[in-house]
């Protein structure tokens, strides 16, 4: 498949898949809490409803940041599915995340401000492991290109089990799922209100939701990379990971940010770095 076809498929299919996943997320969560839950397409209805709402802002430029957040998230996924350099993908992802945070700062309200600060802490918590994951994949395949990594003949998870587990841990933070829903909780009216998204409403909130769909697909795509040599297994594990994240979300209460950073860095150092340490020792022999 040529690069452009892959990218176009991603651009069209990712929001559909992301939307469905988000619907299932709400449904599965509801069932875990012994509720009926909304229809699978509820996220789509939400976005459509939001789109028609009045555009309320606190600061006139705050929504511009969110537009760029969305564009960069889509761009990140595009790079990823085009098979580009994994490190560049991470940098694009980070740039997008920063636009989101700056938008929340721009809104200049105490709740979004706290949300922005906490989101930064979350980024700081997961960034090392995300970078180490790329490095681990490079050491295993001698390439940073997603294309080459996906085409690697061996099952990557077997050489990178620690990195995989570490990546799962940080995925929980990246998805802002409990116990790491520090910057913005799915369940409003807590001490944070909605944290980083407090001051975004209407169409802008819909954009954030759409960005989340794209992001989900891209991140699950990354999980798939660990199993890319066995495509069916890869898809199955990606979906399993998605359900697992929801389970954890429902089982754990929110942690303090100190615990979040400390534990994420510890996991990065022990599982991620430990894996790479062993790998480079073995390769030197």
């Amino acid at each position: 498949m040529s690069i452009w076809i892959r990218v176009i498929i991603y651009l069209v299919a990712a929001p559909v898949v992301g939307c469905l996943l988000s619907g299932w997320d709400r449904r599965i969560t509801a069932r875990m809490q012994a509720r009926q839950g909304p229809p699978i397409l509820q996220p789509l209805y939400d976005v459509m409803k939001l789109w028609g709402k009045e555009n309320l802002v606190v600061r006139r430029s705050q929504n511009l940041y969110i537009w760029f957040f969305l564009v960069l998230v889509i761009f990140t996924g595009g790079l990823f599915f085009a098979g580009a350099d994994l490190l560049l993908v991470i940098f694009a992802l980070t740039l997008g995340a920063i636009f989101f945070v700056l938008g929340a700062y721009k809104a200049s309200s105490p709740y979004s401000f706290i949300g922005a600060e906490r989101e930064l802490i979350q980024i700081m918590a997961y960034e090392p492991m995300v970078l180490l994951t790329a490095i681990g994949m490079y050491i295993a395949t001698r390439s940073f290109s997603v294309e080459a990594i996906a085409g690697h003949s061996k099952l990557l998870v077997l050489t990178l089990p620690g990195v995989f587990l570490g990546f799962l841990y940080t995925l929980e933070i990246k998805f802002r799922k409990s116990p790491f829903d520090l910057s913005s909780s799915h369940h409003a009216h807590q001490e944070l209100v909605r944290g980083i998204t407090t001051e975004f409403s209407g169409r802008t909130l819909a954009l954030i939701e759409i960005a989340h769909w794209y992001e989900t697909v891209f991140l699950l795509g990354w999980v798939y990379l660990f199993f890319a040599s066995l495509p069916m297994l890869g898809v199955a594990v990606s979906l399993f990971v998605f359900v697992f994240v929801i389970l954890v979300d429902n089982v754990f209460a929110r942690l303090k940010w100190q615990t979040a950073v400390r534990s994420a860095w510890l996991v990065t150092a022990v599982l991620g770095f430990g894996n790479i340490l062993i790998l480079s020792l073995l390769q030197n022999k």
Binding site: L64, L72, L87, L102, Y105, P110
Partner: protein, 639 residues
């Protein structure tokens, strides 16, 4: 001693790049007329800029490896005389301050060099005193253009400094500008010197100049910090002197290029000593405190020390040593010092709320990254290291100059007080944001360079990447929260009518444009300057693939669209009050608190001081750095 070769235009150009700023500096020391000084400073700065740009044009067709012999008994005598004079002055300073270390280190240095002159001086033969290659051209461009920009900025800044902001400080502007130019001249000398004796002279001149500039305000704190900088750099100077003696003992020559070309085992000790000198000058752990202390000086000094001169001299020397130390234990230790400095510097920057301190820690951290590249010393690492030097100089200089303007306008350097800067001083705020983006955001230069570093590290020593991944995460945190402070607006206020004067404006805008241009022209800079240099040294070079350049160009275009999107500013939106739990009192900035008291909304950034402690980080980072340095010196001798 052989006679002078006929002067080629290139030799002449290089000599004038060194001598003109030095001579101007000496002249400015006695020039008390402000208007005339302005003319001289602008004139000479423009000439120096033109000279460095000419260097690009002139040197391309000429043989870059070609040597320049300037052997003349009188020149050597003059150099010796200058060195002795400086040493005597430093001893005088040390005695007056009753500072034993200053005196001892200088005496040791003098004794060593005197003994060397006495026993070997007459036999030393140097065929090339000066040397030009692509790396020197890059360094010269940074020094000329960025350093020149600082001199222009200083004209307006120092007038406001003495006439408005700091009336209590004695106006010694003639000395100030004299030192700036001597500094620039010495830096040119340092870049072009091949004779280690010459290099050492210019090295010591920068040490002395920075001592005098840091102590410019003559307050107790300034003098104390100046002496600390002096002591640490003198320690580096002593290592440098030892390197010269050792190099002569091993190779019977004192030429930089000869040293680099020698067999590794032969010159490992002098290379390690020179790395030690470079590490002190570039404020790596455990020597970081001098650069943090240097903040007490007026802003142009900080900008000069942090971006184009002083610390860059240190990393320049380390990068020069890279081919010698690559693959050795010495190289590993140098890389470890750089790595730990990057990590500790980045974490410590999180805890700092004073703008200049954040910038200082960030400088230390980024220099650590360059030192890390030097220590790894593969062709990829060298490529990345040189790129870091270029991008860091431009963006960091811009940031310092912005902080200087804010300091004068708002009388604060606290990041907390910069809240809403985008409304009060929009131009400065935008320049600052550009500078910060240049420091850490994709696809700006520093991030591309970090990416290159990461690749180089993973190829050569994957385990060292642990410093980079954690350090980068911290870097992100402290820059974004600062950016956030600039863009948030919590209280009503007016835009200042006049944000900065002409000279500051010229410097800020040209550096802002330069941050963009260096990024846009990045492929060109890499292919025209950096890659040929790496090719010269290693016979192979790293470069960016076409695909990645394309992706980065797209990203750059996306980022550039952001300011354009402000055309739609405020269109189709309805402004409402921020959510304050429904207890707003007339807007977004006050709310009804407990007992019906009206409270102001305040928002403060996180500094995580309970989580990371600056003292703890400095202490353990310093211990770690010292251990690595000690091992480096030991293994260079015993292996």
């Amino acid at each position: 001693m052989t006679a002078c070769n006929p002067m080629t235009p290139l030799t002449l150009l290089i000599l004038s790049l060194i001598m003109v700023p030095l001579a101007t500096g000496l002249g400015l020391a006695f020039l008390r007329i402000d208007a005339l000084r302005k003319v001289v400073v602008v004139g000479v700065t423009l000439a120096v800029c033109a000279g460095t740009i000419a260097l690009v044009a002139v040197s391309a067709p000429l043989d870059l490896g070609g040597g320049m012999s300037l052997n003349n008994h009188w020149i050597n005598m003059a150099i010796l005389g200058a060195e002795v004079t400086m040493s005597l002055y430093i001893i005088y300073v040390g005695l007056r301050a009753k500072h034993a270390m200053i005196v001892l280190l200088t005496l040791a240095q003098m004794g060593l060099m005197g003994w060397f002159e006495f026993t070997a001086g007459a036999h030393v033969e140097v065929t090339q005193n000066l040397f030009v290659d692509k790396l020197s051209v890059i360094m010269a461009l940074i020094n000329g253009l960025v350093g020149g920009g600082i001199c222009i900025y200083a004209l307006g800044y120092m007038r406001e400094y003495h006439e408005v902001a700091h009336r209590e400080v004695r106006d010694r502007r003639p000395l100030f500008f004299a030192l700036l130019f001597v500094f620039l001249g010495a830096m040119f000398g340092l870049i072009f010197a091949n004779n280690l004796m010459w290099l050492f002279l210019f090295w010591e001149i920068t040490t002395l100049c920075s001592f005098l500039l840091i102590g410019y305000t003559q307050t107790d704190e300034a003098l104390r910090n100046a002496r600390r900088a002096l002591v640490m750099n003198l320690a580096g100077g002593l290592a440098f002197a030892m390197a010269i003696v050792w190099c002569y003992r091993q190779t019977h020559g004192i030429e930089l290029q000869a040293l680099i070309g020698s067999k590794q085992a032969l010159v490992l000790v002098p290379a390690a000593l020179l790395c030690f000198a470079g590490i002190t000058k570039s404020a790596q752990l455990p020597f970081s405190s001098w650069l943090l202390g240097a903040m007490v000086a007026p802003t142009p000094v900080s900008a000069l020390l942090h971006s184009s001169t002083m610390v860059k001299a240190g990393v320049y020397l380390v990068l020069r040593m890279a081919p010698v130390i690559t693959g050795t234990k010495v190289g590993t230790m140098v890389a470890l010092v750089g790595g730990i400095t990057f990590l500790v510097g980045s974490l410590a920057a999180i805890t700092a709320s004073e703008a200049k301190r954040v910038l200082a820690w960030s400088t230390i951290a980024n220099l650590g990254l360059i030192v890390l590249c030097g220590g790894i010393g593969t062709y990829e690492a060298l490529w990345a290291g040189v790129l870091l030097i270029i991008f860091h100089a431009v963006a960091k200089c811009l940031l310092f100059l912005c902080v200087g303007v804010v300091d004068h306008k708002m009388h604060t350097r606290s990041i907390e007080e910069m809240s809403g800067l985008i409304r009060r001083l929009p131009r400065v705020a935008v320049m600052m944001l550009i500078g910060m983006a240049g420091m850490f955001l994709a696809p700006f230069g520093m991030l591309i360079s970090k990416w290159a570093v990461l690749k180089a590290v993973v190829d050569a020593a994957p385990l060292l990447s642990v410093f980079i991944v954690f350090g980068s995460a911290a870097t992100l945190f402290f820059w974004v929260k600062w950016m956030g402070k600039l863009v948030e607006v919590t209280a009503a206020g007016d835009t200042d009518k006049k944000e900065f004067g002409l000279s500051e404006g010229v410097a800020l805008y040209s550096l802002g444009v330069a941050t963009f241009l260096t990024c846009l022209l990045f492929p060109l800079i890499s292919s025209q300057f950096v890659e040929p240099y790496v090719m010269d040294v290693y016979g192979q070079t790293a470069s960016l693939s076409k695909d990645n350049i394309l992706i980065m160009t797209i990203m750059m275009a996306l980022v550039m669209l952001f300011p354009l999107s402000f055309i739609g500013y405020g269109r189709g939106v309805k402004v409402v009050d921020a959510y304050l739990g429904g207890a707003n009192v007339g807007g977004s900035v006050r709310f009804l608190g407990s007992a019906n008291a009206v409270e102001e909304v305040t928002m403060h950034n996180y500094y995580l001081r309970g989580f990371f402690s600056e003292t703890w980080l400095s202490r353990w980072g310093g211990i770690g750095g010292s251990v690595f340095l000690a091992i480096m010196l030991l293994v260079s001798y015993f292996l």
